[in-house]
Amino acid sequence: MRETKGVISRVDLPLLVGILLLMLFGIMTVYSVAFNPEHPSLFDTSQKYGKQILWIGVSLFLGFLILLIEADVYRKFAEYIYIVTLLLLVVVLFMPPVHGARAWLGIGGLGIQPAEFAKISTALMLAKWVDETNIKLQNTRSIIETLGIILLPCILVALQPDAGTLLVFTSFFFVLYREGISFDPLVLSLLRYFPRLKFKTTWLGTHFVPFFFFLIMLAFLSLFLSGSIFNPFGIQLSGPLFLIFIITFIALVFLGFILFFGYPRNKTKNLIVLLSSYLFSLFLVSSITFIFNNLAAPHQKSRIELVLGLKEDPNGADYNRNRAMAAVGSGKFLGKGYRKASVSSMRTNHVPESETDFIFCPFAEEWGFLGIVVLISLYLFILFRIFFIAERQRSVFFRVYAYCVGMVIFYHFAINIGMNIGLAPVIGIPLPFMSYGGSSMMAFTIMVFILLKLDSQRRDVLR
């Protein structure tokens, strides 16, 4: 009992309060969206708001239990937890599909999504694995094993299929980068086929994750700009040309930095990195543009155009996003007022899933830009708090896990809001702690409470 009290007093209060605030916003918005005049009570469990409160209650109860369990358990049993969730992910594939995806493990009327919990177990497994890896002694095998921990659940989730969750798993790569897991051994083993090149280390292998992310963003941008025309200095430039123009400009700025402010010692290396990155970027932009404009089949092209918002089809394939953006945009600066959402309310049903994946919509519509500033600030606060917590851990296991939690929440936050405002493709992933739904609420709560528990015991760790 003394220990319980101790744990609770050592729990990181700002993070806990932040999470509870998000839950409150969630209940509030679900109540507004799903309001049923025949069941006005907030606690009526026949309604979505009542159920949401029930889910939050269950989640917080589970969280409380987690605070009571010894923190060492996760480290000790990480493999077992990981294997059990993998098995669940296999089992779920044999379940009847709901909305076209075999994601639900149903027990009577209730169901859970193992994929939500796979995020936790993968994070734990990854944390343990990185903890036990000697960063200075990485080899091809250790890299492949690390990748395998992430890719195994990825493959199973992809089979459901659940593109959203698949995407979220890629957030772990950023954590690997932060921890110094290098793809160098892989790159070096590839370079072995070119006998003349001899490197001890490569820039590409070391910084593969941000570089790869940069390439994806660049690819996205070049597709986005493929059809448009710019007119910057009186010269007409097609979108890709304009992009190349900008890349060249940025490269020149970097060149200036390297020449005038860089360490002379690293000058040659930096110049090589810059030149190769620059050339690779040019190659990527031009090849993607060429493939998209000349080689892509019309249906693929139109699909991509839709996702990028280059083509309008407000009542067809683009229905959800168009409605969602209208709802968000119509909130204006101050919003329409609580329970005044006319587009995204479930009664009007213009925005499908406005209580789950699109819950950002009614919030934005009712509270306007002012409310959004508060909400996004709250998320950013929570994310930075998690990173702060991560950095104060003495144990690698704790730190990796904390970063994993942070990145998963960040991905959900960025992609979910992004798809509500036309910046990201419509992929069904929930907004953490706000979207209606038991599995995601429980998974996120458990995830954060494990973090809180680990954090509360950070001083007990000797290393």
Partner: protein, 622 residues
Amino acid sequence: MNLDNRKYLLYALVFITGVLLLVRLFYMQVIDDSWTRRATEIAEKRREIIPPRGVLVDRKNRKIVINKISYNLMMIEERIKNLDTFAFAKLIGWDVKKVKARFREIVKNEGIYKNPSTGKTQSNYRKDRPYPFVKDLSLEEITLIASRLTDFPGFYEEPTGTRYYPYPNGANILGYMNEVGRKEIESDPFYRPGMNIGRSGLERSYEEILRGKKGVRYIVTSATNNEIEPYADKKYDTVAIPSPKIKLGIDIKLQQYGEELMKNKKGCIVAIEPKTGEILTMVSAPCYDPNLLSGRKSIRKNYPSLITDENLPLFARPLQAEYPPGSIFKLLQALICLQEKEITPNTGFPCNKSVVGCHDHPYPSSVAKAVQFSCNPYFYAAVRRVIQPNKNKNVFADAEIGLNNWHKYMMGFGLGNKLGVDIDTLAQRDGLIPNAAYYDRYLGHHQWAFSTIRSISIGQGEIKLTPIQMANIAVIMANRGWYYTPHFVKSIGKKGKLKKYRTKHVTPIERRHFDAVVEGMRRVVYEAGGTGKEAKIENFTVCGKTGTVQNGKNKKNHSVFIAFAPIDNPKIALAVFVENAGAGGAWAAPIAGLMMDKFLNKKVTNKEKENSIKNANLMSSY
């Protein structure tokens, strides 16, 4: 390797993403309005409430135009999903072919236009607009259909008003309504496809009052287009304001009586209340039951036969037909001669049949007697003095001065121009009072003198008047020198009549000159040798003047009579015009008498006369 710096990459990623989202949201929510407009398009609907069309009552508050509710089955193509054409055709009682043809017809009726920006020819038809699919369904018909419309998304019922006329009279006054055309919809935001607009008569001229003011309701609709709740607590809603009740000067019973008298004849009766200018009755014979053109089904059925009828029932003769006035014109000639001091009330002229034909009658020793006998040579001699005033030695130049002076007087009686009755001006004619310029155009400058144009002195020749102008002459005589522009609408709600009809027009003739002429009019009816004895009624003194209008060689004369009664403080002034009937005293005078009897004595005692007129059929003489 310093891994610690790498955390800043993650921080930057999170921070930049957050800023990016906020910037994008700021743009969407605060700067860019298009999403708000899109949201309005999606979820907030503007529903217009069209008030019931205004009701018309007669001077005794009898309802003469009311609304009967009927229904249109409306269609919005965009919302039609998986239409089971067979089941739908069965529901509305059509065959499948007709249903398909109707879809094509709607598109075709909308027409095409050339898009100015693309140069392509496009249809005006829009899939997101409502169009009436089946029009004018009765309550019984729509209740059968409406209960099953949920099976056919894209179709819905909409009430529309059809006009109903409790009295089958006054069709040419009231006018009719028909569906608005595309141009009207484009030029006036009030109209939507399927709505009606006044096409003629008062329905047309008072359209903007009768239609009332639209109300608007803003509502929140669901994705399935159901109404969810009022938008913004009805903050922006406006109430529909129905038209105020429009009261007419018409006495519908008198109108009805007039139409009965004019049955099987061609011509008009126009009766006006002299002291107000309100039109009591305006009969245009032959006429039709206004209910024949109420509702689109009826119009489709009846309009073709009405428009092709050789007797022109749709033609509002009192306003649109121009006739030579004949002898009734002598009243004005007498007044002008008196005013110009060319004669005195006691001036006599011999009945010299060598200049112009006349009938046998005693010597017209005064103006009153000249009017009584309708002596042609008298007026020939008198008017000659006005038109040849001896102001110029050149007889042609003198005639020019005289005619223009005379013309000015005639214009002062409201002739030669539309009077401006409150029925749309297109349906009114000017009549014709020639001036010097007119004859110069046809005969050449200084090529004519009084002797050339002498037939105008007895209301023949070039002179043309509309029957409403003739009735207005009776009003001027009754009032001894002034009139209000004749009009139908007595009051609009509590606002009274339009200002235009509250302005008194005074003729350029002094009051004193009227006595002799009015005495002549009394003599026409009461004295031996008078031509209008048939207009006599009990209890009231009638003043009148007959006219027998020559009308080509082989045709019978038009019969004209204008009158007012009683002689002092007159209550009714009227003109009766019967085409090709013969002498004014034979047909127009008795009809005028019966009308005055009906109006002043409330009942007609001389049933014999009434029946002989009612049963007379002159249609064979046309």
